[in-house]
């Protein structure tokens, strides 16, 4: 396919097919760097904290958290929604961008998908552990039983959640694994001994035949088609957890689109954070270029603006509805005792992404990294604000009260980050963090070297052209 040479390259520097393989597969074969060991140790320590908190929780009861008679969900469901949101970028990048033939996704989709899976695993731990009797949580599944008509309640959004999240995890996992197969085969081909056997088993006998590639492409497309609706559905359904209730601040029809936008927003921010670290620590600057960072930042800007508009719309509707409870809920968010959470959210989610209107900041690694962290903080607070500030003051003022977390909740949150990063470090060590086969597929069209060749053939002055298009894609 012809690619205009005036587009910015997606692979920079001098490279070749074999060089790509070498660059990406080499770290898997070599001993990990000391940075990897350091990161992995810290993650493992945090995971240990998670295990400690969870054990204490399971042996003692949910009372070890700071929840109370009025605020029955706190950090648990905040973290759940936050992690599910983070898990959104993976599908969007792999499925939607694949369907839209966005080539830049090839450098980021693998790690984004991995991140999705790990985030959904972290997310899934919360509904399980927040239950009073987690050992009976399987009752939410519509399992056949001998209790007559006793079954799941299909009216309950929590049940929809079970389906949404489990479907999402399954499809994401399959999609990710299918994409890994050609790369696993590449590793297999370079490996010897036990490693060869293991990767051989994992690559399902991939032989790189034309038929194999054709099937691979078809499956990818089918899975992309299956996943695309999930991008919209998962967070829509998560938002139903709140929207179908009667609680002011939850009972809102804007929630589905607002949650989806928020999820993509936070997911991209998390991918951004990870990419910037990976690019630096694994020397992948040639593949994860500033152009990639720039594009990602644009999506953060767009979704951040959607989220910001949603916040303002909520306020308008609360006023316009003339429902005093609704109005109070929103005034209380901004000016009640949890004002600091609200304004943290507003600052991080509405103001900071607007900085990305500046091209300079979009292409600045430091700025991108800091803002991506801000967005993640802001999105955490968004969920906290929605859950806690709506619950702590609802209808009857006699039940109004405050909620604050205990060390167990904090431990479980830090611990879930530990779980996430432990999995991610293992992934970075044992699997190619960039989809080798997919990057190779754009080598001819989008690498700096090849573009330069085409340009000289066509007689285009690239510098002039780039100045003219200002780096657009």
């Amino acid at each position: 396919m012809f690619e205009s040479p005036t587009r910015r390259p997606l692979i920079t520097g001098k490279t070749s097919y074999s060089q790509i393989t070498e660059d990406i597969i080499k770290p898997i074969e070599a001993k990990p760097t000391k940075w990897w060991y350091l990161g992995f140790t810290v993650s493992l320590a945090a995971l240990g904290l998670w295990l400690l908190s969870v054990t204490y929780l399971l042996f003692t009861g949910v009372g070890v958290w700071g929840l109370n008679k009025t605020v029955d969900w706190g950090w648990d469901i905040t973290n759940f929604v936050w992690w599910v949101g983070i898990g959104h970028a993976g599908t969007l990048i792999s499925a939607v961008l694949l369907l839209f033939r966005q080539k830049w996704r090839t450098a980021v989709n693998r790690s984004a998908e991995a991140m999705t899976i790990f985030a959904v695993i972290c997310a899934g731990s919360y509904p399980l552990l927040h239950a009073g009797r987690p050992w009976l949580i399987y009752w939410v599944f519509p399992l056949p039983n001998t209790y007559g008509s006793l079954w799941s309640n299909f009216n309950s959004p929590l049940l929809w959640d079970v389906f949404a999240i489990s479907t999402y995890l399954t499809v994401s996992l399959v999609f990710w694994y299918v994409g890994l197969i050609p790369d696993l085969a590449t590793i297999r081909d370079r490996a010897v001994g036990l490693r060869k056997k293991i990767y051989g088993l994992m690559s399902f006998g991939w032989n790189g035949s034309a038929k194999g590639w054709q099937r691979f492409e078809s499956v990818s497309l089918i899975l992309a088609g299956l996943s695309t609706p999930l991008v919209l559905s998962v967070h829509t359904i998560v938002s139903f957890d709140f929207a179908t209730s009667v609680i002011p601040g939850w009972h809102t029809t804007i929630f589905p689109p607002y949650f989806v936008a928020g999820a993509v927003f936070s997911g991209f921010a998390m991918v951004q954070t990870l990419l910037i670290i990976m690019r630096k620590s694994m020397r992948l600057e040639q593949y994860i270029t500033l152009n990639h960072i720039d594009v990602m930042n644009k999506i953060i800007l767009v979704t951040g603006s959607i989220v910001g508009s949603a916040y303002i719309t909520e306020f308008f509707i609360a006023w316009y509805s003339a429902v005093p409870y609704e109005q109070y809920a929103f005034v209380n968010r901004a000016f009640g005792p949890y004002w600091w959470a609200y304004w943290t959210m507003m600052t991080c989610n509405v103001i900071t992404p607007q900085l990305f209107w500046s091209r300079k900041l979009r292409r600045s690694l430091t700025a991108s990294f800091i803002i991506s962290i801000f967005v993640n903080i802001g999105m955490w607070f968004e969920r906290f604000v929605i859950i806690v500030t709506s619950l702590h003051r609802d209808y009857l003022p006699s039940s109004w009260l405050m909620y604050s977390p205990t060390w167990v909740e904090i431990g479980m949150y830090i611990g879930s980050l530990g779980l996430f990063f432990t999995l991610f470090f293992l992934f970075a060590k044992f699997l190619p963090v960039i989809a080798v086969a997919e990057v190779k597929s754009i080598y001819k069209t989008s690498s700096e070297e090849e573009i330069a060749k085409t340009a000289s053939k066509e007689g285009i002055n690239l510098q002039e052209a780039h100045a003219h298009t200002n780096g657009a894609h």
Partner: protein
């Protein structure tokens, strides 16, 4: 011919040898002998072998039987006729613990008492029961009770114990042994006491009440010659004035007064009239918070307020005024109130909580001028439950100090703890031979050389005459759990009489029966009064007001400096809480966890300070202060309380005990050193220590934020429009002809809904709560806790805001000016009242909230596992076994009534206060209600076990349950009768009629959740009564 085969020639020939040999079993002799015998020539046979086998087998079998499983469930050898498993037995009895009197019905299950209800036949409590009596049932199952008599710390027998006492009594000189008892209400006890004293003249009997009404008794003795209290008729009074008398809370006979008070305050469309209740007081009492108009005065000026009221009434009545300095409260309250009282003379009622006899004499004078005797104050059957005289008690103490007494017998009172002279008592008691008779160890009993265990009321035979001519019987609901006796049994022992107390009681009643004109069949009469629990005859007292010497009174008041107009410094007032009373039940965790009706605090007492004082001294909730008053110093946490007179601090009695068991020991500080008959002490210094302390409150947001959850109106508006103040939400629905029609979803249920209409074919249970009757006393809270096995979670969990009560009473403050309208201030911060001009002028709203059993229940739709589902009778059922604990139901409940089992309250040692954690405590659990496990949600179910029992009863009788036959626990205990439960499908039921009342509304009914609990608006009678 038959062939014949043979084995040997011998066989063929049938030789002798062969025939002989063939009869033997073995061809050769077996060497058994040599094998078995050990050479000593012991012979053993096959028979022996079998013997050994048999022995071995049975020995093995016996050895195996060593661990026979112990069967703890031993069936009745003789099954008691009246006990059927799973069916409760009810016994009418009497509760009296020295302060609280109530005629009760005891519910027993499989022989154990599990619940007390008020006896509806009693005119005193009329079915109502206060929180303390509700909770007292746990006192039976108290592991900390004294279980055996003991002498000098050694376990002893009753004979030894009695012998010791008799020894001290026999030789002693007249009046040298002090017998200290609480008030004696039992005629049997009274006659036994007489016999005891005549047998042992050494005994000097003194009655001590922890909370005495000595002032009234002495005043009435002076005015009427009777040391008792006339029947007060709050139901007949048109204008009620309470001066520092918490008659709905803790004063004299509050359960009775609450019923009367509320029955005088039920306006209807047909007769829109109700009493007008004015309260003058220093602290915000339960009574004051229910008054139509409330004024505050300085506690040191109580006598002055009464004297000025006397003068104001005297002025109108044309009588001579007293010589007292003039004083007027804000808003000319005294003059205004005098006018109103005069306008309603003959049907007004003035009561005063003062314990100063002179002040009570003035109150008698006021009531006499108003002509209230004979109508609202009835002397025909005077109330005689509390008989203690402060003067006699202090005399006893000084005699004890002077060495007049050689021995002291303390019967169920605790002077060391509860008296203001506690330390003097302690010192004096150490010098004498002390005998204690008590349920539990306490500060005084710890000083006794010998202790004897008292039986609990529910283990005792007895009787009572709380009012003249009003008798009630006490019968045991369980055999004594320990080696205990009743006081009557102890007296019989001391008298050397061998009879059973039951026979003494019955014989005393045989004697009484003839006096009452029971002619023939005593057995039938006995059975009837035992069944009814009460026997009420009109008393015969005939008294007239004798008048008084007014100059003597004013002189006496001047001498005691009670008529001073100066208003400097802070006063400290000691009051008693509804849950704790004088603290004699402080070991019962239900009462510790019961939120105070006003402050909503539990598990503590605290120094209530007014908002003015808090502001001027920079105090806030939880600040520790060091307070010095009348020479006594203590460190107490502060709780800022609206409604207090500006210069007043208040501290509840009943806390700071050393022997109140694991629940009550060390909770709070002891206020007793500051108890004064004049009602206050001057605070010498009050300073912050700099430390802070957490006070556990079940409600921390105190204003209603302008929301209409509690609707109210005034009587004037109500008379004009019965639906005033009750604007109900509606939806405009377009009709076919284009016009619009207002549809009220709360009224025509199911008129507008997305849901499929529910058909309630059998019953449709519902509840109506009259906010005008409810006083917020909290009796229902404890009743529900006892009925439904609601766990006690302890102070830390209340601080964590996780108390488990299924019913709570919301209390909201409203600050307005002089009762002009009901402007509502918004207060957005928790526990924050800054910027309120007149913080003592607070009006208070109470609202009991339990599960509303919504027809469109938001909790039901969100549960993923169908653990909470709707019944065909409109109940919102909680299936504990199915619950996985997602808690979405609790989040989605607009009323926030769902309670989650955050921990395993039944075995987690952190919750040692939960009665269900001890073997004995578990006995009190209601077997009809599941004890919930960790991780499941729970909530009110309208006492579904009672509904089920009522339906089964109806089924047995072949009819629908009669309206009112099924009562929820909260309803049954309510002294005000504010809660009505019934079937909406029965148009004749009271609840159906109340649902159509103009005053009825549902809380947040605009959500269209269709609550099955509706409220009736509160009506305040704010218009002064005109002549």
């Amino acid at each position: 011919m038959e062939k014949k085969y043979w084995r040997s020639l011998d066989e063929l020939q049938q030789t002798d040898t062969f025939v002989q040999e063939s009869s033997r079993e073995f061809a050769q002799e077996l060497p058994i002998e040599s094998l078995w015998s050990d050479g000593a020539g012991i012979q053993s046979s096959r028979r022996d072998f079998l013997k050994y086998c048999g022995f071995g087998l049975s020995a093995a079998a016996l050895a195996a039987c060593n661990k026979t499983p112990v069967k703890k469930a031993i069936p009745f050898v003789m099954h008691p006729e009246e006990i059927s498993p799973s069916l409760p037995n009810w016994y009418a009895s009497t509760y009296f613990d020295g302060h609280d009197y109530a005629s009760v019905l005891v519910k027993t299950r499989e022989g154990r008492p599990i619940k007390l209800e008020g006896n509806k036949l009693s005119s005193l409590n009329q079915g109502g029961l206060n929180a303390r009596v509700q909770a007292s049932v746990l006192g039976v199952y108290d592991e900390e009770r004294i279980q055996e008599p003991e002498i000098e710390g050694q376990k002893a027998s009753w004979e030894e114990w009695l012998g010791e006492v008799v020894q001290d009594l026999s030789g002693a000189s007249v009046g040298s042994v002090l017998l200290l008892t609480p008030s004696v209400v039992s005629p049997m006890t009274k006659s036994l006491l007489q016999q005891l004293i005549s047998r042992y003249p050494a005994i000097k009997h003194v009655v001590m009440d922890h909370q005495s009404v000595s002032g009234i008794l002495e005043a009435n003795e002076a005015s009427f010659g009777l040391a008792a209290i006339p029947s007060l008729r709050f139901d007949k009074a048109k204008v009620i004035l309470g001066i520092g008398a918490d008659f709905l809370g803790n004063w004299v006979s509050p359960t009775e007064f609450t019923r009367q008070w509320s029955s005088g305050r039920r306006p209807s469309k047909e007769s829109p009239g109700m009493s007008r209740h004015i309260q003058f007081e220093t602290i915000l009492s339960l009574t004051g918070s229910n008054a139509d108009t409330r004024y505050t005065y300085r506690s040191s000026q109580e006598a002055l307020v009464v004297a000025n009221l006397y003068n104001a009434v005297a002025k109108i009545a044309g009588r001579n005024p007293l010589d007292a300095p003039a004083l007027e409260l804000a808003g000319n309250a005294i003059a205004q109130t005098a006018k109103e009282l005069w306008a309603a003379r003959g049907v007004s009622l003035v009561v005063c909580g003062s314990n100063v006899p002179e002040v009570q004499l003035l109150v008698n004078g006021i009531n006499d001028m108003l002509g209230n005797y004979g109508s609202t104050l009835d002397w025909s059957s005077p109330w005689q439950v509390l008989q203690g005289r402060d003067s006699q008690v202090s005399q006893a103490l000084s005699d004890l100090q002077s060495g007049q007494y050689k021995a002291v017998i303390i019967n169920q009172v605790n002077p060391v703890y509860a008296s203001a002279q506690g330390s003097s008592w302690a010192k004096a008691l150490k010098g004498v031979r002390c005998y204690g008779f008590t349920l539990r160890r306490n500060e005084s009993m710890a000083l006794c050389r010998a202790l004897a265990p008292a039986s609990h009321v529910l283990e005792s035979w007895g009787d009572a005459e709380p009012r003249q001519g009003h008798f009630s019987l006490m019968q045991p609901a369980i055999a004594p759990l320990f080696n205990s006796r009743t006081w009557d049994e102890v007296m019989l022992g001391l008298l050397g009489r061998q009879e059973k107390v039951y026979d003494v009681l019955r014989n005393s009643w045989i004697a009484r029966a003839s006096g009452l004109g029971v002619a023939s069949d005593f057995s039938a009469f006995w059975r009837k009064i035992l069944h009814d629990g009460v026997l009420q005859k009109q008393g015969s007292s005939q008294v007239t007001f004798k008048g008084f010497d007014s100059s003597a009174i004013t002189n006496s008041l001047k001498v005691s400096k009670l008529l001073e107009t100066s208003s400097k410094g802070l006063n400290l007032v000691v009051y008693s809480k509804l849950g704790m009373g004088d603290g004699r039940l402080a070991h019962i965790p239900w009462l510790q966890e019961m939120p105070d009706p006003i402050t909503k605090a539990c598990w503590d007492n605290y120094l209530m300070v007014s908002m003015v004082t808090a502001q001027s001294r920079g105090l806030k909730d939880g600040d520790m202060v060091r307070i010095k008053a009348d020479g006594v110093k203590q460190e107490i946490p502060v709780l800022v309380q609206p409604g207090l007179f500006a210069d007043t601090c208040a501290l509840a009695m009943g806390y700071g005990q050393q022997f109140a068991g694991k629940a009550g020991t060390g909770v709070g500080v002891n206020a007793a050193p500051w108890i004064r008959s004049c009602g206050f002490v001057n605070i010498e210094s009050l300073e912050k220590t700099g430390e802070t302390y957490q006070i556990a409150q079940t409600q921390t947001h105190h204003t209603i934020e302008g929301r209409l959850h509690v609707k109210e109106t005034t009587l004037t508006e109500y008379a004009a429009n019965p639906a005033s103040g009750n604007v109900r939400p509606y939806v405009s629905v377009r009709q076919d002809d284009g016009s619009t029609k207002k549809v009220y979803p709360g009224v025509s249920r199911d008129a507008i809904t997305l849901w499929q209409k529910r058909d309630y074919e059998g019953h449709h249970w519902a509840m109506a709560i009259d906010l005008n009757a409810c006083t917020g006393c909290g009796s229902c809270v404890v009743s529900c806790q006892v009925e439904n096995n609601v766990p006690v979670v302890g102070k830390q969990e209340v601080l964590n805001r996780r108390e488990m009560h299924w019913i709570r009473i919301d209390r909201y403050y409203n600050f307005d000016n002089q009762g002009e309208g009901t402007t509502t201030r918004r207060i957005d911060q928790e526990n924050e009242y800054s910027g309120i001009d007149k913080p003592d002028q607070v009006s208070v709203l109470f609202q009991p909230i339990m599960c509303h059993q919504c027809d469109n229940a938001p909790c039901e739709t969100v549960c993923p596992v169908l653990a909470t589902v709707h019944s065909s009778e409109g109940l919102n059922q909680m299936v504990y076994n199915r619950c996985v604990g997602t808690r979405y139901c609790a989040n989605n409940c607009p009323y926030k009534v769902r309670r989650f089992n955050w921990f395993s309250y039944i075995d987690n040692p952190q919750f040692y206060n939960n009665p269900a954690q001890t073997d004995l405590g578990r006995m009190v659990l209601n077997p009809d209600v599941t004890v919930r496990a960790r991780g499941v949600m729970e909530k009110c179910t309208f006492c579904v076990q009672r509904i089920q029992a009522g339906k089964l009863d109806g089924k047995r009788k072949g009819m629908r349950p009669v309206d009112g036959s099924i009562q929820t626990a909260c309803q049954e205990s309510c002294p005000a009768g504010a809660i009505v439960f019934g079937d909406l499908n029965d148009p004749q039921s009271e609840v159906s009629r109340l649902f159509l009342n103009e005053r009825t509304y549902g809380v947040v009914e605009e959500l269209n959740v269709l609550p099955s609990v509706n409220f009736l608006t509160k009506v305040r009678n704010t218009t002064p009564v005109q002549a």
